[in-house]
């Protein structure tokens, strides 16, 4: 299949804040996702993940740029049942039962034949008669997942899908997703859990302050940023309860400067390091090294 699952170019969205100023939530985002990919959309809270997801689903109209889902506008793809989503802020009706919720959404898709299948798939059989308001956060999340499976979509977009799930449920959820992906379903999930991106995504798109700051195979993203960190243990007498002795740190920087080392910081060699370096406030970290290293990541 040559048509990409998602092709977004130049996406931009601004919101008006309460005090009348405008906030740029998403700024010039280009994103192409091929059919069958598993992509993590990783960024801190407020980075613009949910706004981007909304535009990919046609729920929010971008101020600029275009979105195509399987070659058509998102609304048409949704109506055709080719794309569905588990939304972070998408809701459930508390006085429906679990099964009624699934039946209601199945009816809107004209797919009442799928009710039993998705209830079983999302492991909801035991609580099918329970009112939604009596369900735990993780159970409600599974119900939303069941609703997303109703149209048997080719592309599933998951916004913080495992929020509220315990460890075992989360594991089961991702096992299910992997089985789906193996059958050719395209999966895009937004998360701020680094471990989830690390473990489940083939490709990671890092977003911060509305911009894509890195995009590449998850292993590359991790290696190119985490692998270059040199760490060492400071002597005990400079370690204070509130951090390192600033005078000592200044001497370390002074000593390292002739060697060409800049931007000394405390971090661990992991994807987390890359995450923090790329998404941190520009005024706190030296932004200069990140730009050349970006190229390394996408290579």
């Amino acid at each position: 299949m040559n048509t990409p699952a998602i092709r977004a170019t130049g996406l931009r969205k601004t919101f008006r804040a309460g005090d009348g100023s405008t906030v740029v939530a998403v700024d010039d985002v280009d994103l192409t996702i091929a059919a069958g990919e598993i992509v993590a959309f990783l960024g801190p809270n407020g980075a613009g993940k949910t706004t981007t997801v909304d535009m990919l689903l046609g729920l929010t109209r971008p101020d600029a740029g275009t979105v195509e889902v399987y070659g058509v506008e998102p609304g048409a793809a949704v109506r055709a049942g080719r794309v569905s989503a588990v939304m972070q802020t998408g809701g459930l009706l508390p006085d429906f039962t679990v099964e009624e919720t699934v039946r209601a959404i199945a009816a809107t898709h004209g797919r009442s034949d799928r009710v039993a299948a998705v209830i079983e798939r999302a492991a909801l059989s035991e609580i099918a008669d329970r009112r939604v308001q009596a369900c735990s956060g993780g159970e409600q999340q599974r119900l939303k997942f069941a609703l997303a499976l109703v149209p048997d979509p080719d592309l599933v977009i998951l916004d913080e899908p495992t929020a509220g799930m315990d460890v075992a449920t989360r594991q089961h959820f991702w096992d299910t997703m992997r089985a789906d992906a193996a059958q050719g379903r395209t999966i895009v999930f937004a998360t701020h859990y680094l471990a989830e991106a690390d473990e489940f995504a083939e490709r990671t798109v890092l977003i911060a302050r509305g911009r894509i700051v890195a995009d590449g195979p998850t292993a590359d993203v991790r290696a190119s940023f985490g692998g270059r960190t040199v760490s060492f243990r400071p002597p005990d007498d400079v370690v204070r309860p509130d951090g390192l002795d600033p005078a000592w740190l200044a001497r370390v920087e002074q000593a390292l400067t002739p060697l060409g080392v800049t931007g000394v910081e405390v971090s661990s060699a992991s994807l987390e390091a890359a995450f923090l370096a790329l998404t941190g406030d520009a005024s706190l970290a030296d932004p200069a090294p990140t730009t050349p290293e970006l190229t390394g990541a996408t290579r």
Partner: protein, 261 residues
């Protein structure tokens, strides 16, 4: 495990089963016993208080029938507004965003909610008329049927009103605002107290006036309790104009509720 295949040529899904959705939503509504009591039983009680035993002639029937028609109108409007008001709760819960990911168009969603509201309205009107029938309201049988039909069909307009108010003024108090406004509109609509003069002229422009006048038309041929007369075009124009206004407001509200704020 269900078979999953990608179908590149898929452009249209199967037809939505709207009836199934409406039935599920209606069942959910009727399970709310307290809410149903106020929608269905309160107007019947008001008829008993205001209309019982008034046997003077009005048009083709008696005063009791006139009051019964007024209260059935009020009941139908309360029913449709209240049911549509649950749309607020649904929006607060984000159900609108869930529905936005289905093949349903905004207009279809409005229509389905109106259908649920009208089913409840039918129960409310039937009950008030039944109470009237056994307590001395009398008039030509054809006028009863015609009035009931006008009330029932016309209450669709207030399902749209309830949706519009609740979608436009989103918040926990909105259903209360919608119901409160209904009481005001019912007075201005000549439902509770007979009006004449300037108040009547003002009332003729308000949303419930045309609907109430049409509900009474089979019995009164447009003659009002205090001697004024409405030509048929006046209530018809009122109903049409306000239906268009409410519909536009509701559509705007549905669109707006889909965007995350």
């Amino acid at each position: 495990m269900t078979a999953t295949t990608t179908a590149p040529t898929r452009t249209r899904g199967p037809r939505p089963a709207l009836g199934t959705y409406v039935a599920l939503d209606l069942r959910r509504q009727v399970r709310d016993r307290v809410g149903m009591f106020f929608i269905v039983a309160l107007p019947s009680f008001m008829y008993v208080v205001f209309g019982l035993g008034s046997d003077d002639r009005v048009g083709s029937g008696n005063v009791a029938m006139y009051v019964m028609t007024s209260m059935a109108t009020y009941a139908a409007v309360t029913a449709t507004t209240t049911v549509a008001g649950t749309a607020t709760v649904e929006q607060t819960m984000g159900w609108g965003r869930q529905l936005a990911l289905t093949p349903l168009r905004p207009l279809t969603i409005v229509g389905m909610k109106a259908a649920v509201a009208m089913a409840v309205a039918a129960v409310a009107v039937t009950l008030v008329f039944a109470v009237g029938a056994v307590t001395g309201a009398s008039g030509a049988a054809s006028d009863w049927v015609l009035s009931a039909l006008v009330i029932w069909i016309g209450s669709a307009m207030f399902a749209i009103y309830g949706l519009a108010i609740c979608l436009v003024f989103r918040g926990p108090n909105t259903p209360g605002i919608a119901s409160g406004l209904i009481v005001v509109m019912a007075f201005l609509g000549n439902l509770f107290t007979p009006m004449d003069g300037l108040m009547l002229d003002i009332g003729r422009l308000t949303p419930m006036y045309g609907f109430a006048a049409l509900a009474h038309y089979p019995q009164t041929d447009g003659w009002l309790p205090l001697g004024d007369h409405d030509p048929l075009w006046l209530p018809v124009a009122n109903v049409l104009a306000w239906t268009v206004i409410f519909s536009l407001l509701a559509l705007w509200g549905v669109r707006r509720s889909r965007a995350r704020t």
